[in-house]
Symmetry: C2
Subunit: 333 residues, 2 copies
């Protein structure tokens, strides 16, 4: 015992330089595990994230389109919303979304809280109103108790709801993926192929846009810099927020964390495999036609960005009461 | 230590008669906790229960209509299925469904395994085919490994799928509710009102149909024995299975376990409160118009049938592969 613990500082001394080097010098940074300051608020936010009564139908929750069994996405080209309406754009993952500079493909929400107000009263998504959503929650004593425990008031409003959801979302990070283990000094964490893929990823310029903790999420860039992207999706991206001609068809660089799980790819969800997405990126953004081996290596590397998925216990939602506004699943009823 | 453990057999001796008495003499029996024999099979069945890729759209899973956050039901009068089609009948809870003599309102499936084959290729529900569902699973190596671990074969078929789901469902029991604590001898577990409600429940005859571990699930009975039930729902219940005139409008007596969570009530899901459901039952099945106090007492009693909900960790579903058949969320694509 004595001998071993005497050795530990020495070991730390020898491995420290690798750690410091990689973490400091590589363009991708390891994801930090979250510190939960307010577990009650997180628990409330989790219930709300899984709460179908925030939708008109009583059927659709945040988790419907950001399924935490599926990398926080729905794995559909565009989402199914209220009344099976087709959404306009691919649903991005909620995992690590707190690490992005802004929310939505066009960055039109600055914070997670601002974002969370959107889907509830979006007629294509949950098709409800903030007033009714709050009325539902206010009618359920168990919810009032939870809100009171967290916000010291039973006079709840939509800002309490979106705050709790945002704080829950902040816990949805995925640390300790194999790539992060390598970053922190574990040379065994990656295979040669994966390392070769990462080398190419840096050398040809992917890391100029996909970098940082989220391996993306830090800038807007035009989709198709060297060559044009052909899509039927009408979104003009960032231009719709700024009206600035130079922002036309510019999108938030998506995170590549857990990208193995968040197919199909691109804002139109038109591409199903990482191989094809990589080939397209190289050709459109960098003007390169890559040999298959390079593509396979980069795909192998990107799969090492899959991290530990949040361990979520299925929440129990308190039952509606006689005074709770009822869901309207079908308009003819 | 010695003294205390010396006392234990004595304590057991004194409390045993109450336990034996109540458990033997009351019409309602306590729910037994499940013994999990094959945790790998349960884990696989859980993944499949949460698996939207068993549906044509890639959006609907068993858990969509039997939400384990909501007492294993969807809390809608009738369900939302593929393409937002309206289902024909109320979705019963999957909790404790292994304790019923048969599955579905009309008992047309004998076992949970037989039942589970139904929704996958029901055009109103998951709208898929068994062949395609199996093809999806076969295309995903991580699933093949799991099936091989459980069934010793990678040549999987729909019977493996429904067997694993059924074995997972068998774990969805809700023991240790307050009523069961009372049954097992804890006199403090129920309030006077709840005990009064239980007394009425037995005396006026509710327990003639709602009895056993599941407080129901053991017989078919006509809905409206003394007085008629008015509904727009076309189901003729058990008659549709037997063709026997005496079975017309006869339904499986639903479990009252967790009935607080499984609103709205009756096969047509037309009644939203337990108070109203109780009033209707008393009038239709027993020809009685009960004073409000009796109804409130019985409702208080029925809420003690809410048991410990299964503790479920959100499963992680393995990602689709390039060869995986793709979901068809919208027919125009
Ligand atoms: C019907 C599908 C649907 C529902 C329900 C839904 N979302 Fe989304 N979500 C989307 C789509 C599609 C986008 C992308 C929209 C865009 O960028 O214009 C999105 C974007 C987001 C983003 C931004 C992610 C990023 O990287 O830009 C977050 C965070 C988010 N949703 C959280 C939520 C929360 C919280 C709820 C529930 C209150 C919710 N969503 C409900 C489909 C949905
Ligand atoms: C100039 C910036 C830029 C460069 C360089 C770049 N990307 Fe991208 N990447 C983006 C943007 C912007 C998107 C989103 C485009 C869209 O959806 O319309 C994207 C999307 C992706 C996606 C899809 C992610 C998802 O969830 O939809 C992958 C995978 C990807 N990039 C990988 C790469 C690889 C590999 C390279 C190098 C060969 C690369 N990128 C180079 C900006 C860039
Ligand atoms: C679109 C909604 C929907 C989906 C999806 C769905 N169910 Fe059901 N489920 C129902 C409805 C409605 C009934 C009652 C049908 C009847 O009795 O005729 C039912 C009945 C059942 C029952 C019988 C319960 C009882 O007490 O009689 C079980 C068990 C069950 N479903 C399990 C499953 C499983 C397992 C899956 C997935 C393979 C599934 N369900 C998918 C709506 C759904
Ligand atoms: C003769 C048999 C019988 C008697 C007596 C009876 N029930 Fe029922 N009960 C049923 C049947 C059958 C149903 C399902 C009817 C339907 O859905 O159409 C049912 C449904 C219910 C439901 C709704 C459960 C659900 O999940 O939809 C409740 C609550 C209930 N009974 C309580 C009672 C109470 C309280 C009494 C006594 C006042 C009572 N029952 C007496 C047979 C009976
Ligand atoms: Ca995607
Ligand atoms: Ca019900």
């Amino acid at each position: 015992m004595k001998t071993l613990s005497g050795l530990l500082p020495l070991l730390a001394f020898f491995s420290a330089p690798v750690l410091a080097d990689r973490v400091a010098n590589e363009p991708i940074k390891p994801i930090q595990a979250v510190q939960v300051d307010d577990p009650e608020k997180v628990a409330l936010g989790k219930k709300l994230f899984f709460e179908p009564r925030l939708s008109r139908s009583g059927f659709i929750s945040c988790n419907s389109c950001h399924n935490l069994s599926r990398g926080g996405s729905d794995n559909l080209p565009t989402s199914i919303g209220h009344n099976w309406q087709q959404g306009p754009i691919n649903s991005p993952t909620v995992l690590n979304s707190s690490l992005s500079m802004a929310q939505f493909w066009d960055g039109r929400a600055e914070t997670l809280q601002e974002q969370a107000a959107g889907p509830i009263d979006n007629p294509l998504e949950m098709a409800f109103t903030h007033t009714l959503a709050v009325e539902v929650l206010r009618s359920i004593p168990a919810y009032l108790d939870l809100f009171e425990g967290v916000y010291n008031t039973r006079d709840i409003n939509i800002d309490h709801v979106t705050d709790a959801i945002a704080v829950f979302e902040e816990t949805l990070v995925t640390p300790n993926g194999r790539f992060d283990q390598w970053l922190k000094g574990d040379d065994e964490a990656l295979t040669e192929q994966e390392l070769a893929g990462y080398k190419t990823f840096k050398e040809i310029g992917c890391a100029a846009c996909h970098y940082g903790e989220a391996v993306g999420g830090k800038d807007f860039h035009r989709m198709g810099i060297v060559n044009q992207y052909a899509t039927e999706n009408p979104s003009q991206g960032r231009y719709e927020v700024t009206g600035d001609e130079s922002d036309r068809f510019s999108f938030k660089v998506p995170t590549l964390r857990n990208v193995e799980l968040t197919y199909p790819y691109f804002h139109d969800g038109a591409v199903w495999t990482l191989e094809e997405a990589t080939e397209i990126m190289a050709y459109l953004q960098l003007g390169r036609e890559l040999p298959e081996q390079d593509i396979d290596n980069m795909v192998a590397f990107m799969k090492t960005l899959t991290g530990e998925q949040p361990q979520i216990q299925v929440p129990q939602l308190p039952p509606s009461q006689p005074g709770t506004p009822r869901p309207i699943p079908f308009e003819n009823d």
